[in-house]
Amino acid sequence: MSGTEKETGFTFTIDGVEIKAHAGQTVMEAADAAGVYIPRLCDHEGLRHQGSCRVCTVKAGGRSVAACTQPAAPGQAVENETPHLTKMRRDLVEMLFHEGNHLCPICEASGNCELQAMAYRLDMTEATKFPYLEPCRALDASHPDIALDTNRCISCGRCIRASQDVDGKGVFGYVGRGIHRRVAVNGENLADTDAQVSDHAMSSEVCPVGCIIRKRVGFAVPIGEREFDKGLIGHEIEEKRK
């Protein structure tokens, strides 16, 4: 950040809390720095913002906007944790559960899964509102060290951006349109690509769910020591304010 940008610092509010920001920051970036957590799934530190999952939707100036792409503005009053927004986020997350096959009890990502953790944070105690689509997606275990279970994919596109922007490869891409849009590999299967286990796109931190799996790791980390056993998703951001 240049000295000039620092000088252009300003403040805005999220749910009445004053947040410091500077020009070029998004609402989410400024909120994160200030210790205010805005739920998100498709956004991930170090990857370009995409604004597609809409879980980070906030109200700014009376409009619904994606906090991960919306620039912070001086004096803006942003609403984050209102009953309406929380319900909308819960519905979005619930729809993601219904769109795929998310069997938490037998998923090796359980406890490390951001979708599951988000459901807990948003108090999604039962998923009964929408019909289950129950897609039939074959597991791709062709790669010697990585497996893809796209039954659990939420089309966040984090792997696409990581592969393109960080790894410089393009192992993944979107195919289809509308509700049929999904992440696919650029090849017959994963073994047909230049994917490597050391790729950033293949890391467990990039895939928020149990879709991209490191083979033969499985349940090696016991229950109680998994990421979200330590606290609700977003707790590490909120702890900055304490």
């Binding site: 083979k215 033969r216 499985g218 016991p222 229950i223």
Partner: protein, 480 residues
């Protein structure tokens, strides 16, 4: 003389899973046929195909909510073999054994006190509203309290080793994912002696019931059969976690002994009948008519040469003395055998808690990958076989499960028929209390019908009455 009838008991209660009994009476009200039907279907053997090998122990344990640890460990043992691991690290094996002993303890306690005790304490023909755990708690509060706390102890052992009391993730291919922290060990040690005292009382209760009701026990659903279990490889001792296959005839002659369980398919084949979703296994060399066998606590008391914990061994010797060392064929003696095993498990738990290997950090062994794995364990209800094949991509291509209740299918059917003939034949009025006698015979095997069919469905069992032409005359259903 009356019209021929068919009675249907549906569902059979205080068992795990959904099943029914049908009893065919002829014109003289004599029992022509009686069968236990398992009416649920689940299909785990099919839908596990394509899944990744390390997921298997976590997925297949969902067969059951009472004995998931048994499936978890049997599958993990099969996956050890596929991972090329023939010997776990000391911590890995001992943590798994601790988990298993906790599991057998809680499952047996659940069966004896919560499911069977109402029959034993109040009588098989007692009013239906009397035959439940709440009446046990009301009339014998100390016994009821112990039942709850003993089960809690076993469940907490499971939680400490698997991460959850039900459906944990402790066992992974090649080992275990945790050790036992000292504070947990000290917690369990603080009341393990009390647990042993309570187990001794439970053994006495079951023994006294068996001996004081000798006439009933010796005739109720009792018949000679073959018996099978794994026993310890070196000396034939009772070993619930690992060993070789041993089968004895009803007179104690060895049919096979110390056969590696990886050869189970050379010894056992499964028969299919049109009226049940549960298969009928039998010993290949003897054929289906005489080759059927029983498994479970009493079978293990019959097959084991001895028990390697002193208190349980003394109890074992006392049970064996009743039949002068030959196999005990009394279905109801399963309850006594079950309590001896609970005592054995708690003795083993105490032994393990004093072993520093439980705090070891070498949790996983590695080896050269294989394509096929077989895991066999003695589950609470008896011998449990898991068999898988995995391709080069780590995906399951084949799965065969033979669970305890399936092994016991022929035995349970014979027990149902035996009790129906002895207690229902010739009676014009078939009361609910009389029908409960049939259920008591089924219940003595502590069947897990969900496991046996690897099936989806609701819990309870029903009795059907058919006329001589095979028409359904009457049906009795019971709800838990």
């Amino acid at each position: 003389m009356t019209e021929p009838r068919m009675i249907e008991i549906s569902p059979v209660t205080r068992v795990e899973g959904h099943g029914k009994v049908t009893i065919h009476l002829n014109a003289e009200n004599e029992v022509d046929e009686a069968r236990l039907h398992i009416v649920e279907f689940r299909g785990f053997e099919r839908f596990i195909r394509g899944r990744l090998m390390w997921e298997v122990p976590v997925i297949v344990q969902r067969l059951c909510g009472i004995c998931p640890v048994s499936h978890h460990l049997a599958a993990a043992k099969a996956m050890d073999m596929i991972a090329g691991v023939d010997q776990l690290t000391p911590t890995g094996e001992k943590m798994r054994r601790l988990m298993h002993y906790g599991q057998v303890m809680q499952s047996h306690v659940l069966h004896f006190f919560h499911l069977a005790a109402p029959d034993l304490l109040f009588g098989f023909g007692a009013p239906a509203e009397k035959r439940n755990i709440f009446e046990v708690l009301k009339e014998q509060p100390e016994l009821g309290k112990r039942a709850v706390l003993m089960r809690k102890y076993g469940q907490e052992i499971i939680e400490a080793t698997a991460g959850k009391k039900v459906h944990g993730t402790g066992a992974i291919p090649g080992g275990i994912n945790r050790n036992l922290p000292l504070e947990r060990r000290d917690h369990f040690l603080s009341n393990v002696d009390e647990m042993i005292e309570w187990c001794l009382d439970a053994v006495k209760l079951a023994r006294d019931y068996t001996l004081e009701n000798e006439d009933l026990v010796s005739e109720f659903g009792s018949f000679p059969s073959n018996y099978m279990s794994i026993v310890r490889e070196s000396d034939g001792a009772l070993d619930l976690y690992h060993g070789s296959l041993r089968a004895l005839s009803s007179t104690g002659d060895k049919i096979f002994d110390q056969v590696p369980y990886t050869k189970y398919h050379e010894l056992i084949v499964e028969d299919v009948r049109s009226w049940s979703y549960m298969k009928f296994p039998f010993i290949k060399e003897l054929g289906p008519d005489v080759g059927w066998y029983r498994v479970g606590p009493l079978a293990r008391m019959n097959t084991a040469s001895f028990i390697d914990t002193p208190l349980a061994d003394a109890a074992h010797k006392e049970l064996r003395a009743v039949t002068s060392g030959t196999p005990n064929n009394s279905t109801l003696a399963n309850h006594w055998a079950r309590m001896i095993e609970v005592l054995h498990c708690v003795e083993k738990i105490r032994e393990l808690l004093h072993d520093p290997d439980l705090q070891g950090t070498d949790l996983i062994a590695k080896g050269d990958r294989r394509e096929e794995g077989i895991g066999v364990i003695e589950a609470p209800r008896g011998n449990l076989i898991h068999h898988y094949k995995v391709d080069e991509n780590d995906q399951v291509t084949y799965c065969n499960l033979i669970v305890s209740t399936t092994h016991n299918n022929e035995g349970m059917n014979r027990a149902v028929k035996d009790v129906a003939i002895k207690h229902l034949s010739g009676k014009e009025q078939i009361t609910e209390g009389l029908l409960n006698h049939v259920e008591v015979a089924v219940r003595a095997y502590d069947p897990c019908l969900s496991c046996a069919t690897h099936a989806l469905g609701q819990m309870p069992l029903q009795v059907e009455l058919f006329n001589a032409e095979g028409g359904l005359v009457d049906r009795r259903s019971q709800c838990i």
